[in-house]
Amino acid sequence: MKDLVTLELIRESLIAVVHEMRANIIHASFSSIIYEGHDFSCAILTPDGRQIAQSNDDHPIHIFAVPYSTREVARTFAGDIHEGDIFLHNDPYTGGTHLNDVLMLTPVFVGGHLVMFAAARCHWGDVGGMAAGSLSGQVREIIQEGMRVVPTRIAEKGVLNEAFLDLLFNNMRNPQERRGDFNTMLGTGRKAAVHVGRLFRRFGPETMLGGIEELIRRSDRQMRTRIAALPDGDYFAEGFVESDGHGGGPLVGRLKLSIRGEELIADLTGSSPQTNGPTNFGPAMARNSVGTMVKSFLDPRTPINHGSFMPIKVIAPEGSFLNARAPVPCGGMAEVKYMLDGVVAAALGQAVQEFMVGDNRGSANHTTIAGPNRRGDGMFILYEYPAGGTGASHGTDGSNVLRCFGEGDFNSIQSSEVVEFSNPIRIERCELREGSCGDGEFRGGLGLRRDYRLLSPQGTLSLLTDHNLIPPYGVKGGMSGGGNRFVVVRDGQEVQPSAVPGKVSDFPLKAGDIVRAETAGGGGWGDPLTRDPERVARDSRLGYITQAQAKARFGVVLLDGFKVDAGATRKEREQLRAQRVELALQLANTEEPKTARRMVPLAPQVAQRLGIRDGDMVELTNRRGPSVRGWARVSDEADGGSLRLGAAALALLDGKPGERIEVRVLRAMPL
């Protein structure tokens, strides 16, 4: 009993250290993306790199990768770590995320022994490379994304390696700001070490270390119990990164998720090979994604430590874009990670039906506008990563423009007044993107529309985004949300800043240009024709959708704009239902596709009814789970009444031969 109390005290005290580190970083840092965006995380780890404490404000995308990096540091410097040493790391191939996320590890010593690491991983506004802000869509090798730091000792017994730091900062834009961020992390590590030292004195080293092991053991136990409560079985899902940035693509992430007793195995075999574009990630990230989703679906409430992830096994083939090796770029790791989150959620949702949820925006939406600053003594770099609408689930509409459940609670856009005060930019609109929700019995949230007008004589735009062409999926018959969309408006005309939507490096901007960011809506849940008409009326009254959209997309006829005409609605819905294209599933003897594209054979008359041509994207609705996406192969061999798919596709649909399912056009934005 006394142990329970002590355990609780140890856990709370360590989380308090993390909170203190966070407050320190927010208040003293220099990158707006840290102090405004809160794009950083803190954690405490064991000397062998197991996670002990984080806070609920930290971002899983950073923090679940930190243990990997810490293990690499511990391995590289085994037996040679001393009091006063400090380590820096951002290398994606040894546990980093993308190069902008710089990790500082401060070893904590008590009585001459290394007892813990205090970790802070912060997104620096620029780490060098080809484009301002370092993240851009058309890179071909990691060298173009900035300075890569493999596990490196930057302070030895209290003495900083100034030569290394000079070299580092002199190869980054706005070096003064970078030094400020670096100093902030340094101060934070120091304070954390002092605080942890106090805790060891208070509890005694044995109680403290024993308590930590017990907390990890309990989290492991807890997660095993949760997994064991699920029926054993295999669940399949796949998702796409739409392009590698150079016109190739798409890349597919294929998942077989198996529940075996107390263990969960995520096998990503069959996913695309790595490419020379930015959408790859290193060895820490697939586990990061699976861990985040499993935590959300199975055990969202208890505090996190290493134990929560022990019963999870992840297989990510080396050399695939889900476990990349040098020298491919990894700047778009978040794009890949969010895609994979959606894939894992799709599989887990089939196992835990009450949490089946529409997809989120599927992209970090890195948006960087840069140019000469107003003082004329350097440059401004405005970096934002605007959120979109969140996915719907049973009983719950998605939220408009909000960080989703698997993300840290960051500001993804800055205050417009702060942007205008600090940069030669005027924000002309920042509003909901009407009509962008994924329809459903419960609909996804709306995305964002934000217009940035450049006031300086010239500037550049870089974008690294995804899900522009392949939007967030709906579930159980729910529709896709509107995809992300980024354009430049010049003299009133829309200009595409690159041949590949949403992936841009250093597009030259002129004074007066508007950069228009439109972010994705969340995926819908359930058949939109079963949505409560009163909810549709409310959405129309609020201007989320128009009266015409209420009729065309939900079959709800409104009088005077907001009053439901029940009779007309019934008729309209019957009609819309009758217009759907439904085909009977048949098992074909085809192999799993070797390429990323999943082909859907359709007869010409079916294609005509849908209004599509060969190669256009379609989706197959799935009453039990997420819609399955594919590319139409229009051929006379296909029969007009059935849909012949291979065993793997049937498994994705969890469908039986003979079952009728709806085929529909996949649009980047709902009509």
Binding site: M1, E8, F30, F405, D409
Partner: protein, 680 residues
């Protein structure tokens, strides 16, 4: 002029309404306590004054702490509010920074709470101010008629005017406000820059909308209250406690409801400052523990810390408030088992009904109060204030049930464990206002009050190695006392500044001079004369390139900006672990606090009863064992009396539990000043 006779402070809590009355002629303090009436706070106020048994016509000063603003917002009972805003920014309230703001990590079903102003009544007007204050599009000549028509049709009862960049130039906001007032006389209209003049549209718009949303409710409450007081014969002007720790006139409370959210809890902080001032203690942390929550605040140099960025649920509130940190753990908090088998306290509370198991009102779940009872820290023979008699068997039964679930066999150790976890949580709250803000709690005295504060203050102090604890006299009424000690206060801020190395110190002095004049004008309007007005000046400073700022004091006599810069560098090093000699500092905002000084009670105290303060001895559980322990009656403890722990001190409205190693002394103010023998 009428002779001043009684000053009254009234604090309305969730369970009780506390009143404290000061008789000027005799320096006597009178207290009374009546049940609060939910939905009719004013009745508790009138009844509490009645319960004092004084001549109501002789009341000349009246300060009231009310939770109307907080309750109405949490219960969403404000008025339907319309917004007029800049083109393209209709959805600021619904987007903000895209943050969830209230948790939600790993929560698949998380939904953002709806904004206070619904989208169909958020309308755009053609206007635009640039970031440098220039007018890109003037609002003059715009016909508000159709907007007003739409608001009327939608039954809008209050309006917020929220324009981008109004913090630097509010001309368009003022023009729009004036036009709307003409068209909708009687409808409350707030303008964002008038409510708070800071950069950051989401926070400012949110603050403005909250103000409009709550104005009708607050106005109705204040009207009812003043009418009821008048009927009861109280003619003294009513003042309301403000969140910044100062009192405000009725008109100010009506116009700026956003400044009243902490109207209740600030009284305790002000009261603590008053006690500490008498005791010669400059730095303290206030620890106000009630039935469902605990409020903690830090006071440095006899000044409570102020926070300029606040949040109520998911609504940002950008007005200066005392930096009070609240956690959901109090005497009634329930002790329960988490899924992974560890113990947890609160935030669920048994409240007043059914109350802790020992209250004998039907509660069956174990609470912090039950744990205290099991450990011998609460009386079972004598009734508490309000005539409540506690049942030990019921408390034990509740803990036995929990012990069974957990697989523990000893309820005493379980109760002790529960208290230790509660104490750790409260220590966490103290850490939040101290360590997290760059202060070492060991440099502070802990002031314990509220119903449960004196019972846990010593344990919290020990948890943090704080060597000094102060228990004020009437710990259950300290908030009401604090209201009697509160000066009137106006805060003003200007987003003005530049790099310290580049700006002219005379320009800073000019800006402060203008702000001082404005503060003086407002207080003069409130009825203060010039010699009753004081001003405090400070600047928000940061290193060039940073965003967040630290406050540094400024004085007219400084001459240069060097003292300000040095103060900033010192604070930065203390707070963040480093200073940067190569970087210039930058002033971002100027702030002036203007105080209208009021007449205050003189707190010199004499015991109300004579006789031996020792009531009896009985066993109390301390640090792993039962100790035979003296029980004292506080009403009989004379000034100068010195005693050594362990002991329990009982009084109406609060029991102090003093562990071993503490020495207590009765101060002339009546407060117990307690020192730990073991710390430096």
């Amino acid at each position: 002029m009428k002779k001043e006779r009684f000053l009254i402070g009234i604090d309305v809590g969730g369970t009780f309404t506390d009143v404290m009355c000061y008789e000027l002629a005799t320096n006597r303090l009178l207290t009374a306590k009546v049940p609060s009436l939910p939905g009719a706070q004013w009745r508790g106020v009138v009844e509490a004054i009645g319960a004092l048994g004084i001549d109501k016509g002789a009341v000349t000063g009246f300060v009231h702490g009310t939770t109307i603003a907080t309750n109405s917002l949490l219960e969403r009972k404000g008025a339907k509010t319309g917004v007029v805003t800049t083109e393209g920014f209709r959805d600021v309230l619904e987007i903000g920074g895209t943050r969830r703001l209230i948790g939600g990590l790993f929560d698949i079903k998380f939904q953002r709470p709806p904004p206070l102003a619904s989208r169909e009544v958020r309308l755009e007007a053609p206007e635009r101010i640039a970031a440098d204050g220039s007018v890109l599009k003037a609002i003059d000549g715009f016909d508000f008629g159709p907007l007003v028509e739409h608001f009327r049709k939608n039954d809008v009862k209050a309006i917020a005017v929220c324009f981008l960049n109004a913090y630097v130039n509010d001309a368009n906001e003022r023009a729009a406000g004036a036009a709307l007032r003409k068209l909708m006389p009687g409808t409350p209209i707030s303008e964002s820059a008038a409510v708070t003049r800071e950069r950051g549209e989401f926070e400012r718009f949110s603050t403005c909308v909250i103000n409009s949303y709550l104005t009708p409710t607050m106005a109705a409450y204040l009207d009812t209250l003043t009418a009821a007081l008048e009927t009861a014969g109280v003619t003294a002007p009513v003042n309301i406690m403000g969140s910044n720790g100062g009192a405000m006139t009725l008109d100010n409370a009506r116009g700026y409801v956003v400044n009243t959210f902490l109207s209740g809890p600030v009284g305790g902080v002000t009261g603590s400052v008053g006690i500490c001032r008498l005791a010669g203690i400059d730095d303290c942390i206030t620890f106000d523990m009630g039935g469902t929550s605990t409020d903690v605040a830090l006071v440095h140099d006899l000044k409570p810390r102020i926070s300029h960025s606040n949040q109520i649920e998911a609504h940002p509130l950008k007005v200066p408030q005392l930096d009070i940190h609240t956690i959901g753990a109090g005497g009634g908090s329930i002790v329960w088992m988490q899924p992974d088998g560890t113990l947890e306290i609160g935030p669920q509370s048994a409240g007043a009904v059914p109350g802790p198991a020992c209250y004998q009102r039907g509660g069956t779940q174990p609470t912090i109060s039950d744990a205290n009872l099991i450990l011998g820290r609460l009386p079972t023979e004598r009734s508490l204030s309000g005539g409540l008699v506690l049942s030990k068997p019921l408390a034990e039964k509740a803990f036995q049930d929990l012990a069974k679930k957990i697989g523990a066999d000893d309820i005493v150790r379980l109760a002790d464990g529960a208290l230790r976890i509660a104490v750790a949580k409260m220590a966490g709250a103290v850490r939040e206002v101290s360590v997290h803000r760059g202060f070492d709690p060991r440099d502070f005295a802990l002031v314990g009050f509220g119903g449960a504060g004196p019972m846990h203050a010593f344990n919290v102090a020990e948890e943090l190695a704080i060597g000094r604890v102060v228990i004020p006299r009437f710990p259950g009424h300290l908030s009401a006392l604090g209201q009697l000690l509160s000066d009137h206060r106006h805060d003003s801020v200007r987003a003005w500044g530049g790099r310290v190395g580049e700006i002219d110190p005379a320009a800073v002095a000019r800006q402060f001079g203008e702000m001082q004049k404005q503060g003086e004008a407002r207080l003069t309007a409130d009825g203060f004369t010039r010699d009753g007005i004081q001003h405090q000046f400070s600047a928000d400073v940061r290193y060039v390139g940073q965003s967040f700022t630290l406050a540094a004091p400024w004085q007219a006599s400084d001459g240069s900006l060097q003292p300000l810069k040095e103060a900033f560098i010192r604070r930065h090093e203390e707070t963040f672990g480093y200073a940067d000699p190569h970087n210039d500092a930058e002033i971002v905002n100027l702030r002036v606090v203007s105080l209208g000084i009021v007449r205050k009670p003189i707190l010199n105290f004499a015991p109300e009863e004579s006789g031996d303060p020792l009531i009896e001895h009985h066993k109390v559980y301390f640090e792993g064992g039962w100790v035979e322990c003296p029980i004292y009656n506080r009403a009989r403890m004379a000034v100068g009396l010195e005693l050594f722990g362990p002991m329990v001190i009982e009084e109406s409205g609060g029991t102090s539990v003093v562990p071993p190693s503490w020495r207590i002394k009765v101060h002339p103010s009546g407060a117990l000043i307690c020192e730990h023998e073991g710390y430096e």
